[in-house]
């Protein structure tokens, strides 16, 4: 059996400068904060992050931004982090704003081998400008492209040693879909158990999507 259980240092050491990285979480909920801290420590630069938010000042992904490690952010809601606005105005970060439903569906398409899809979201708005449109059943739709990444850093509640994952409450959010859309998937979990201990009916992410499992240490606590 391939061993997927590694330290956070080993897992993040597989990354590189200039990587495109999906990061799970909604706000700080379900965000892989231990893995983000390790990316900060190892110091990769010119990263493009695909994440719904870019943390909050001093927290989560914002720490990478404030450390000059991010080049571009693709997501739906950066308003609550004023630091993002400052970096954008200073020309130090480019952003691509995507309606949240379109954002997650683009990732789903990327992970599912779908070449794109049409949605009514953003049709006729500022965000939809320049997108290819098509009228379907009398309504205007825009064409959206799939999103994929080099790495996905995700957070789950429990993993078995094969990499099957279960989540906890609203900490699930973007994590399962991001697990499908990156070449290398690194998951941060509260607990690792033996295969067979997770209810097969309750597994949300089957193990084939997961490359590395990092168990949060007691010292990691809840950020």
């Amino acid at each position: 059996m391939k061993n997927k259980i590694v330290s956070k240092e080993q897992a993040i050491a597989t990354m590189h400068d200039g990587a495109v990285v999906m990061v799970g979480g909604f706000g700080q909920v379900g965000t892989p904060l231990v893995l983000i801290d390790e990316v900060l420590r190892q110091g990769y630069r010119d990263l493009t992050v695909i994440s719904n938010n870019v943390g909050e000042p001093g927290k989560g992904l914002s720490r990478l931004l404030e450390n000059g490690q991010l080049k571009k952010a693709i997501g739906s809601y950066f308003t609550s982090n004023r630091t993002v606005g400052e970096y954008v105005l200073a020309g130090k970060l480019s952003v691509e704003l995507v309606p949240q439903g379109t954002f997650v569906e683009r990732i789903r398409a990327g992970g599912a081998g779908i070449g794109g899809f049409y949605t009514r979201s953003s049709a006729g708005t500022l965000i939809g400008e320049g997108k290819e449109t098509r009228e379907i059943n009398g309504e205007l739709y825009v064409l959206e492209q799939p999103l994929t990444a080099d790495f996905a850093l995700i957070r789950a509640h429990r993993a078995d040693k094969l990499g099957n994952l279960v989540y906890r409450k609203t900490a699930r959010n973007f994590n399962p879909v991001m697990a499908t859309a990156a070449k290398t998937v690194i998951v941060e979990v509260d607990e690792i158990v033996e295969p067979g201990e997770l209810d097969a009916e309750a597994i949300v992410t089957p193990h084939l999507f997961v490359d590395y499992i990092v168990e949060r240490g007691h010292e990691d606590g809840r950020h």
């Binding site: 909604f26 909920v29 609550s80 993002v84 704003l97 439903g101 569906e105 979201s121 309504e139 959010n173």
Partner: protein
């Protein structure tokens, strides 16, 4: 202002029917559940992955993994379910949400809403607003009638970027209730103590008046 918010929320609550699946935006919409009639139970959907949102927890009951779309701690009711964001937005886009209640910066005489881009600020957030507007079966706007600067929010044509090509269904302010039709806005109800003249003075959008 708190009274005005509750006045609007209470009126919006009367639009809901027993068993509705409802998505609430932040601000006034979150107050709607406090005003539900006794014979009306609804299921609250939050786009970050929960159907069955319960009230805010007590200080000792906060679960950091359980929040609403405003990132505030919530609880789960009996019969609730958790799901991923892609599934959640399939529910929204796919027309499975009965009612979305949301705030707005402007609504115009066509029924188009502007509620995502704040004037004078870099555009850095859209969240789920566009998806909810195109996807929900019924969209109700709850908002104060005027801006803080005393400018009408019901305008002829939105000067702020619109959120979707979909027209909202109903607009509820502290002064009046409007319905959106193919012909434009119809004022269908004045709030208690409000005169038609007052609404006319504070509204730049064209509307017709229908006395019930």
């Amino acid at each position: 202002m708190a009274d005005i918010k509750h006045l609007i929320a209470a009126r919006a609550a009367r639009e809901l029917q027993d068993g509705d699946i409802v998505n609430l935006g932040i601000g006034i919409p979150t107050l709607v559940v406090e005003h539900l009639p006794d014979n009306v139970d609804v299921f609250l959907h939050t786009e970050n992955g929960l159907l069955g949102v319960g009230p805010a927890p007590g200080p000792d009951e906060v679960d950091p993994d359980l929040v609403n779309a405003g990132k505030l701690p919530v609880t789960e009711v009996v019969g609730s379910s958790f799901f991923s964001s892609d599934h959640s937005f399939a529910m929204i886009r796919g027309g499975h949400i009965d009612v979305a209640i949301l705030g707005a910066l402007q609504v115009d005489s066509r029924g188009y809403v502007a509620n995502w881009s704040v004037p004078g600020q870099a555009i850095l957030g859209v969240g789920g607003a566009m998806d909810l507007l195109i996807g929900a079966k019924k969209v109700i706007v709850t908002m104060s009638h005027m801006t803080r600067d005393g400018e009408p929010k019901l305008v002829d044509t939105c000067t702020l970027p619109i959120t979707a090509l979909r027209r909202v269904d109903k607009i509820i302010t502290e002064l009046a209730v409007f319905r959106v039709t193919d012909e434009g806005l119809v004022l269908e109800e004045l709030m208690p103590g409000v005169t038609l003249d007052e609404v006319r003075t504070k509204t730049t959008a064209k509307f017709t008046y229908e006395v019930k």
